[in-house]
């Protein structure tokens, strides 16, 4: 059964945005004191993020995928440089999180469909 961390791979742009939102809260170490996620750390977090980007590569397009992957690598470098959250590296990493979220949200922007779905991500968050 469970008990050790099993890699989680986001499968959609929305799931990657959720992943980035989680990274915003738990950077730079990406460790929680919860017993629900033993073994979770910086390596597993970026593995999930990069594999998630790979999973939606076709929908992103090669150029956008390459940009996002490069941003992910830079972000990781920032967080690794400031594991105790004492310098500006963590802030720089978080700025990259917001930038990636913006890129993904722009990718997901669609005209309001026949369904009564809210049009934007923020509206989704507020009005679900």
């Amino acid at each position: 059964m469970s008990g050790s961390y099993k890699p989680y791979i986001p499968q959609t742009a929305g799931e990657i945005i959720d992943q980035l939102g989680w990274m915003m809260l738990y950077s730079p170490k990406f460790e929680t004191d919860s017993g629900y996620f033993p073994g979770q750390n910086l390596d597993t977090t970026f593995f999930s993020l990069n594999e998630g980007l790979k999973a939606i590569r076709n929908r992103l397009g090669d150029e956008r995928y390459a940009d996002l992957l490069a941003m992910s690598d830079r972000m990781r470098a920032h967080f690794e440089a400031d594991p105790e959250n004492k310098t500006d590296d963590t802030l720089a990493g978080r700025a990259l999180i917001l930038e990636m979220m913006g890129l993904l949200k722009a990718r997901r922007q669609k005209p309001a469909a026949a369904l009564n779905a809210p049009a934007t991500r923020s509206a989704l968050l507020k009005g679900r």
């Binding site: 929305g14 959720d18 809260l25 017993g35 629900y36």
Partner: protein, 381 residues
């Protein structure tokens, strides 16, 4: 030594048949008419007599006599843990237990056929333990009805608050800390093996720290819930574990969010609550997916467990949908900072969805105050 007939015949010249009928009216018992014939013999049986001379003896009838009378339990089933005053006499040296001869040397009549030890007359065997008590439901709830007391009988649309400390893992862990902890873990393992005989808990050693034991119990509860769901399709325990999980994670996310906001590290568009809530919302969704993923649930395609999935309402002319944070069976979970009730369009939308939830559970951070997590029962529509 007067018969019934003698007693009653003195009251008048009534026939035996009439006396029998009167007796029936008074007592509800039918006796043959012969019992009311004059000089009918005594029919009462008194078991308390000395078989040697036929004289009546004392019978257990009051506290005074009970404290002195000793009876033999030899004709009853052997075994038991009753205090035996004859144990010293019956256990001969060498481990032999000779058959006692009929005797009343100590003033107590013992039949040679009675092999059992003598027991105090006031002894009452311990009643057999009930197969399953109710107390377990208070500290180990398996259904939402146990988490929200009164949910089953609540009127439609009622709001019920979660029972105090029910989701607290440290409470039961403290209680069972040390000796009972392992016993409880074994109890959980046995429960799981009844459902899945192949189940094995991957543990290399006994947890000695409190944190380790808490984690072990938590993991076993999760395994039990997921096993019951996979093997039997029972969503009840999984709903409880999902609620436990969401409550812990929303507390943690809110705590971190407040810290990050205070440090000026969160992007603020509208307000503090909006900034904290947005990131907490995203984080909890991600963690919920990890939670199910690590326990083998494919939430994208599972028919009963969904994370941030569209729940359609096809009852009207236009198909609409709502997106609960989590859905397990016929329970929708919504993680939020604000208090929501049936007046909320979103909550009504959940109830209108095709999966027809029995209840919507609102999960909010504990830091916001008492009674923050509650369930909204399905309204009559």
């Amino acid at each position: 030594m007067m018969g019934l007939g003698q007693n009653i015949s003195s009251a008048g010249q009534k026939s035996a048949a009439r006396l029998a009928f009167v007796h029936y009216l008074r007592t509800g018992r039918r006796l043959p008419e012969s019992a009311f014939a004059p000089a009918a013999p005594e029919t009462k049986f008194n078991p308390y007599h000395d078989p040697r001379n036929g004289q009546f003896t004392f019978a257990p009838g009051g506290p005074r006599s009970l404290s002195r009378i000793v009876i033999s339990n030899g004709r009853q089933a052997a075994g038991g843990d009753a205090p035996s005053i004859a144990a010293g006499r019956s256990n001969a040296p060498g481990g032999k237990n000779p058959t006692p001869a009929p005797s009343n040397a100590d003033g107590i009549w013992r039949d040679a056929q009675e092999q059992g030890p003598l027991r105090l007359a006031q002894y009452r065997p311990t009643p057999p333990r009930r197969a399953r008590g109710n107390i377990e439901s208070f500290w180990d709830p398996m259904t939402l009805q146990q988490v929200f007391p009164g949910l089953q009988s609540a009127p439609a649309g009622a709001i019920l608050t979660v029972a105090d400390n029910l989701l607290n893992l440290t409470g039961p862990a403290d209680t069972v800390y040390a000796t009972l902890s392992e016993a409880y873990a074994n109890h959980l393992i046995n429960q799981i093996r009844k459902v899945d005989p192949k189940y094995r808990y991957d543990s290399f050693s006994v947890s000695r720290t409190r944190a380790g034991q808490i984690n072990k119990i938590r993991q076993l509860r999760l395994d039990r819930a997921f096993t019951l769901y996979r093997m039997r399709g029972d969503t009840g325990p999984l709903q409880v574990e999902t609620l436990r999980f969401l409550q812990e994670r929303v507390n943690a996310a809110y705590k971190v969010g407040v810290q990050e906001f205070a440090a000026g590290r969160l992007e603020v568009r509208l307000s503090r609550e909006e900034a904290i809530g947005n990131f907490a919302d995203l984080a909890i969704r991600r963690e919920t997916r990890v939670f199910y993923n690590s326990n083998g649930i494919v939430y994208q395609s599972d028919p009963q467990v969904r994370v941030v999935g569209r729940e359609y309402d096809t009852s009207g002319t236009d198909r609409t949908y709502r997106i609960p944070d989590v859905r397990v069976g016929k329970i929708a979970f919504d993680v939020t900072l604000t208090r929501k009730t049936l007046t909320s369009k979103q909550i009504r939308g959940f109830f209108n969805a095709d999966f027809k939830p029995d209840a919507v559970v609102i999960v909010r951070p504990r830091q916001l105050g008492p009674g923050i997590t509650y369930t909204i029962n399905r309204p009559r529509m």
